[in-house]
Symmetry: C2
Subunit: 436 residues, 2 copies
């Protein structure tokens, strides 16, 4: 198949592009390098030393003897996007080209607006371009499990059949997203569903859980192909951050009680799920939704798993509870369905098998690159304007030996997650002193 | 109360501002005159000869001996909006300042994008400005009944209690909006609900039905205060258009079978509903949803009512069925709840009482200003790019005598609402010949 990966220089995009190319598909990447720019903005970097995209692609071509075509540009630029579709003529387009961090969208008004405008306009452009130039192409859109929030009933895959006052209908599952970023994905889902209906586009919305890990067979082929491993407060996902903290002897930072349950998956399952969606396309006019994760964990449960894995490596791992900087239920019912991808052939990698190999070992290997200062939560959901991490960062890249104390002394007060509190910011000041 | 009306130069905004001022509230209007600009863009104008806002406000001040303050600017300009809140310090802000036409949003990609960006960013700005500068102020946001679509179960007011697999929760009512405009309102609703939750803002979302009529006690005080009466394809609502068609002897243009049922209300009820929301504010942290309409009608049912009213005035009114330019069910279940505003004191004006006075008589009075060419549907939901009416319009403002034949000869074919068809465009060409 001819498959176009929008955002192919990012974490999921890069792994997906290589995996699909290895499987024999003709793959092209489009990217505007926004993800690399955000690292500069925030003063952070991936734990793993990733190479420039041009170098990555050169090495891939040498190894695989198959070229991945590159288009540099922005999906919010309609001229770029429509030329791209006309020239590459994809049969499937995987849309990773969005701002994908909840904390980033919560920094302040400008970041909230830029996240929603970037994501919504990029997707609208793609829908119009598909309708005009490639109407039979299958759109595979990355959504998020966070679109659903944490309702007190089972979460279904995109739709729910409701009986009400003696009548029945199957309707879009109600959404309760928890950040301006998650909201942008909900907006996208509504826009895509509408264009499938009116124009007969075909689309699959992959409501993905929290992805962990770095290794896939393809990125493991050569050091130059290595994938991102984000562990910072803003772009780092929770499990990556825990592993980085464990690797340098910092307490794991659990937000609040840690009863927040979410769906998780290994990046090796991300790439496989995308392939399954490609090879089993939605029908014309169909807006299909898959919940893309393999296991449910609570945040505290993950912390305990990392503690156990650390022990095997001889690490003493503490767990700290911080006031939750997000507004979310810290304990709740959570039961999300995720059978559709399994029915189509997904064989999950389980965290218990990957934790040491794909996560802790990577964190240990690159531990000298870990910046302790970027892992503490400073972006507070309750504040309409937050300082960006970079702005108060006098000292970066503290080495392990400089950090000897838990960064946060403040315990979680009863009801500590309600109302404004300065906890994380204070913690940050403490930290600044410690590492300067 | 100190009440700020965003979009106070528009159809609902103007009537609301005067009504609230008459009731003794201290009212300010903010507007950027976008609505007047769109008339120029489309080559249309309101049936009623509205005056400039500055003249309207001068006349109002003379009559009422009370000033309505004016702020000229754009809610997508955060500096303007935040200065406005700081200077006027409203206790309630009514947000009408959005692009509100479904066909306008369906013209092409640029109009879809500009509608969503304008509406979503304006509302995001307002939420951030309220949180920063006026957190106790009550936001009253105009939504639309069109957010719900036409589900096969009863439509509740904003939320629905769902029992599922033995558990129960009350969740946001699932949305199935039918245009990029309606989608923008759904996006807004999700964004507002989220900020009520995280920041404790107070908001009421008024999911308004289709508004008809022009007359309120206040706009009737002086010819200079007269309100808009839009009857064109793009901004004209269906009942206004039918009355204009009847007034000049044109057949009423029913889209498809006409079984599309919707909620309707008199503009005198719009202004009263807004006042009820103001004087019964939502609690801090509450995102309250009211369905704001008074009666349900099918489009064909409305056509028949207009036919009857025309007969009383000695007019012979025909009804034509056109291929539906929209993608919507032409026959469906529809039962939308609307009791909350009634419980708070709304006493509805019924269409049967208003049709002659507030609609047909206005249409007759200004019939010489009716432009027959702007009422035919040319914006097709199935086309990702539509010509704007203005672009093909060689002749405007045809007088009644020039139009002697029904404009559309093409009957509705069975299944005529599916797939692309050139019906409306052909009809337009016919019409161009007739009136040139």
């Amino acid at each position: 198949m001819r498959i176009l990966v929008l955002g192919g220089d990012g974490y999921c995009g890069w792994a997906t592009a290589l995996y699909l190319a290895k499987k024999g598909h003709t793959v092209a990447i489009a990217d505007n390098f926004a993800r690399r720019l955000w690292d500069h903005e925030l003063g952070v970097q991936t734990l793993t030393p990733i190479r420039s995209l041009s170098e990555r692609l050169r090495v891939w071509e040498d190894l695989a003897r198959k070229k991945i075509e590159l288009f540099v540009g922005d999906v919010t630029d309609y001229d770029f996007l429509s030329s791209l579709l006309k020239s590459f003529e994809p049969e499937a387009v995987i849309h990773f080209a969005e701002q994908r961090s909840a904390p980033y969208s919560m920094i302040d008004r400008k970041h909230a607006v830029s996240t929603q405008v970037n994501n919504v306009v990029g997707t609208l452009n793609l829908l119009f371009a598909l309708r005009e130039f490639q109407p039979d192409c299958h759109l595979i859109k990355l959504g998020t499990m966070g679109e659903y929030g944490t309702p007190n009933i089972d979460i279904e895959e995109g739709y729910i059949t409701i009986e009400h006052n003696g009548r029945k209908d199957t309707l879009p599952y109600p959404k309760q997203p928890g950040s301006f970023y998650h909201l942008s994905k909900v907006h996208d889902s509504h826009n895509i569903a509408f264009t499938c209906k009116i124009w007969g586009l075909r689309a699959t919305d992959l409501n993905q859980g929290v992805v962990y890990g770095t290794m896939t067979d393809e990125v493991g082929l050569d050091e130059a192909l290595i994938n991102r491993f984000d562990y910072d407060e803003v772009f780092g996902t929770v499990l990556n951050r825990f592993c980085a903290q464990a690797a340098i002897g910092l307490p794991l930072t659990v937000y609040g009680k840690g009863g927040q349950a979410r769906g998780f998956l290994d990046i090796r399952d991300t790439v496989r799920c995308v392939e399954i969606a490609c090879t089993n396309p939605a029908a014309r006019g169909e807006f299909r939704v898959f919940n893309q994760f393999t296991e449910q964990f609570s945040v505290l449960g993950l912390a305990k798993l990392v503690q156990g894995a650390g022990k095997k490596l001889g690490l003493k791992v503490e767990v700290n509870h911080l006031p939750d900087p997000r507004v979310e239920a810290e304990e709740h019912y959570y039961n999300a369905k995720h059978s559709k991808l399994v029915e189509l052939g997904l064989q999950p990698h389980l965290l218990s098998d990957s934790l040491l190999d794909s996560l802790m070992n990577v964190a240990m290997k690159y531990r000298d690159r870990i910046d302790a200062a970027v892992m503490m939560p400073r972006i507070n959901w309750r504040q309409p304007s937050n300082e960006r991490p970079l702005q108060k960062s006098a000292t970066r890249h503290a080495s392990v030996s400089e950090i000897s104390q838990p960064l946060v002394a403040e315990p979680v007060a009863a009801g500590g997650s309600n109302g404004n509190h300065g906890g994380p910011s204070l913690a940050r000041s403490e930290n600044s002193k410690l590492v300067s």
